[in-house]
């Protein structure tokens, strides 16, 4: 794939005329997908999909193009040339953009992660035996992923990795569920079977009859996976500089009223783990670490180069959408073994579901409990709870109501496959909060 990208880049850059700039983004995968229901195969298949994005800059205008890479050099070069011709014409028609971001050559990078994945033909036989006798539903995704970026000034980045993920649920006959997500680069059958065994043990807890709890405010523990979902909201009308400037960020109170979160809450954008490339679609490379919120104080927002020009601030080379790509939240002092006793009476929430801003300006987020969520009394898990809706502000649960943070991280890999398989992960501990609002 890298060779295809190199050849295409060379051919298309040679088409440029004086004053024209071109940035190419390459994104592809060779993947196996197997969908399971009731511990059997529902759908199975393979997908080869690679796309080339073109960003053409001339005459103080930016025009984008893009097409599917067929793998046939003549076809792909013809498609690329046709795109350049179209974009060149458009650059004469559309209005000038005063905030055009021009490419630079600040150095190239090359990263290929070695992996020992599971051969496609062995997947079903490796996965299903461990699920014997349990209602297992989920999806297996496996294969190579590629990301490339090159510009007409000679800068080039390449990132290639091979990974797998089995994202699944185990279901009791009474429809209570436990979530699992076994992911990695090197398949190890023994590790997989141990992981599934732990999921099956958790499922036993779910066999207790679920109880209905009332709406109201509860002392609540959120497992790392639930915290990761809350942090995900920071990437949607959250910690983006453009969102703040355009009046659609939940962080307005931190910016305008100097409101702070809990001193126990800190988060950085951290690329040192290598879950995703450090370069963005402009080919710009972010610092290895960028502090976003430190001890509750907003230190940095995510700033793309375009926002930097538009608002007169310094870019930290965020992606154009100014979302977090590799967030990492700091740990605290609460040991997981003490979580249930520290709850005393309240809720233990493993997962949450379908989050949305219910009042973005107030930082209020609504959503639902899902999977292994329990009622705790006298420092003991009593039973799973029936699904409840919550509606509360992150200014509360990451702010004044935050009691303590877990002393260990968990890595929550990105397993979404909209358009293609995603890269990245959210690394965070669990949190204990004094009060959390259930509303329905």
């Amino acid at each position: 794939m890298e060779q295809i990208f190199n050849q295409l880049s060379e051919s298309l850059f040679s088409e440029l005329q004086n004053g024209e700039n071109l940035i190419l983004s390459f994104s592809g995968e060779t993947s196996q997908f197997i969908r399971f229901n009731n511990a059997a195969v529902r759908q199975t298949g393979l997908v080869d999909d690679t796309n080339l994005g073109l960003k053409f800059i001339a005459n103080n205008r930016t025009i984008r193009g893009g097409f599917t890479v067929s793998g046939n050099f003549d076809i792909d070069v013809a498609r690329g040339k046709s795109e350049i011709a179209r974009m060149r014409l458009e650059a004469q028609e559309i209005p000038e953009d005063p905030f055009v971001v021009f490419p630079e050559n600040t150095g190239s990078s090359h990263e290929i992660k070695p992996a020992k994945s599971l051969p496609f033909e062995h997947a079903v036989d490796a996965i299903l035996p461990a699920m014997s006798g349990v209602d297992f539903v989920g999806v297996w995704a496996n294969g190579r992923m590629f990301r490339g970026n090159a510009n007409s000034l000679g800068q080039k980045h390449w990132f290639e990795t091979e990974s797998f993920s089995l994202d699944y649920s185990l279901v009791t006959p009474e429809h209570q569920m436990v979530k699992g997500s076994f992911t990695g680069n090197n398949w190890n059958q023994e590790d997989y079977e141990s992981y599934v065994k732990r999921s099956r043990e958790k499922l036993i807890l779910m066999e207790r009859k679920p109880i209905k709890i009332n709406t109201g405010n509860y002392r609540t523990w959120f497992e790392s996976a639930a915290v990761a979902d809350f942090l995900g909201m920071f990437s949607w009308n959250g910690i983006s500089e453009a969102s703040l400037r355009q009046g659609c960020s939940g962080f307005g109170r931190m910016r305008h009223d100097d409101i702070r979160l809990s001193p126990k809450f800190s988060i950085v954008e951290d690329f040192s783990s290598g879950f995703c490339p450090k370069f963005n679609s402009n080919g710009e490379v972010s610092a290895e670490k960028l502090s976003l919120i430190e001890n509750g104080e907003l230190k940095n927002t995510l700033v793309s180069s375009r926002s930097a020009k538009e608002y007169g601030v310094e870019s930290n080379y965020a992606e154009s959408g100014e979302y977090m790509r590799s967030p990492k939240m700091s740990t605290g002092s609460l040991n997981h073994e003490n979580v249930v006793s520290e709850i005393g009476e309240g809720l233990y929430l493993s997962n949450i579901h379908y989050l949305n801003w219910s009042d973005n300006a107030g930082g209020r987020i609504t959503g639902l409990t899902r999977y292994a969520c329990f009622w705790v009394e006298n420092g003991e898990i009593i039973a799973p709870i029936e699904t409840m809706r919550f509606d509360d502000s992150f200014y509360n649960f990451f702010g004044g109501k935050l009691i303590e943070v877990e002393d260990k991280f968990s890595v929550n890999p990105e397993v979404e496959t909209y358009g293609g398989r995603s890269l990245g992960a959210t690394t965070c501990p669990g949190i204990l909060v004094d009060s959390f609002a259930l509303t329905l």
Binding site: L46, T68, G71, P95, D125, D359
Partner: protein, 480 residues
Amino acid sequence: MKLDIDIKQLLNAVDVPAQWVGLREVYEAHTPRMIRDGVPVANGRVSTHGIMVEVLVNGQFGYYGTPDMSPESIAKAAKKAYRQAEIASHNAHYQFDLSARPSHQGSYQSPFTKNRNDLSAGKLNEILLEAYNHLKVSDKIVSASSLCQVIETTFRFVSSNGSDIHQDFLMLEFDLSATAAEGPNQQTRTFGGMRGTCRQMGMEYFDKYEILANANRIGEQALELLSADDCPTGEMDVVIAPDQMMMQIHESIGHALEVDRILGDERNYAGWSFVKLEDFGKLQYGSKLMNITFDPTLESEFASYAFDDGGLKATKEYLIKEGLLVRGLGGQESQIRSGLNGVANFRASGWNRAPIDRMANINLEPGNSSFDELISQVEYGVYMESNKSWSIDDYRNKFQFGCEYGKLIENGKMTKTVKNPNYRGISNPFWRSLKGVGNADTFGIYGTPNCGKGEPNQVIRVGHASPACLFENIQVFGGV
């Protein structure tokens, strides 16, 4: 540059001993244009083109999606799909036969009078810039944008049992947005909420004067919201506009009736459903005023088509009639698995994904009340327009929606504007509280380009049309 493919010839290149082979070619191009805060922020054109090769082996389907559409590649893809299916067939969830892929022939062309090239990039940018200028009615409008996206899709489907289908679509997404802010007090008003304005149509949509009038109204309403009181809290009646009814139908009816969900395929991702297979023909889903249809025939609605991606012919069907649940959203595979009557809704997001049960156009049929008659029935309540927040549980029971714009209703009349109107409820009791359905004059056609579901994930276009509706005794609340 679209490559011309002879897909029938490609079918001849396939040489595997499968029970059935199908080729589905999809070409799709997106052309976005956007002006934000007076400058162009999006001008481009991105296309995708490939073929999904699907085979049936020992009752198990297997697929291979490839962008290489040469005969050699398609032959190789079929062999790999065959091997995938063969291995999986020993652990198949269901053993299908040829009845899962009935043979159909035909074509569809979405309606339009002006194609994409009839309006140049420069002219379209001019219109969007002028719309921006009409959105920016005050310095308190801190950000405003006008955007459109033209979508052109060509779909071809041929199979070893004689299916031969060709469908062409020209679609448009359009939005206007103004955000008014004073410090952390911020209010956004759009043209239909969350990209709700999306239809099958061409560039004839760009009637400049209508767009500018709407832009001006949206800017003024954003300002109005900035100084409005918060929506009251309590149990009260609500009148919901079609551009929010869209979301209500989508989340609390559409997804709940997808038969693959009811069969458990989605339990690890989108979730299950409170609806059970035995509920069809028996469950009183809502009040007698409620008539819900699957209607792929409504001209210009976003997800109209003649055939689904499995080649099944699409027809209008009642899902809920006079409040009674009568039919599910299940394509041919789900109909076979469940034994239920269904619809032609087996759809994929593109050539690189396998079809699953999706919504298409799911509509609430008009009733008899004028808009004024709906409002006049309310002693104290809120009228709500345009979705801005949505959330529902994995069984499609407990929902919560937020809207952009509200009007207090007092003694049968709309009085002052209220901001942050929200409501929540549980699907069945909510629909049973449906007290009034607007007539055809209140009917609005909307849709969304962003319906997510499936593993691997797929985002797909759906349409929803509805009149304004009155619901009684609903939990309503405002902002922080």
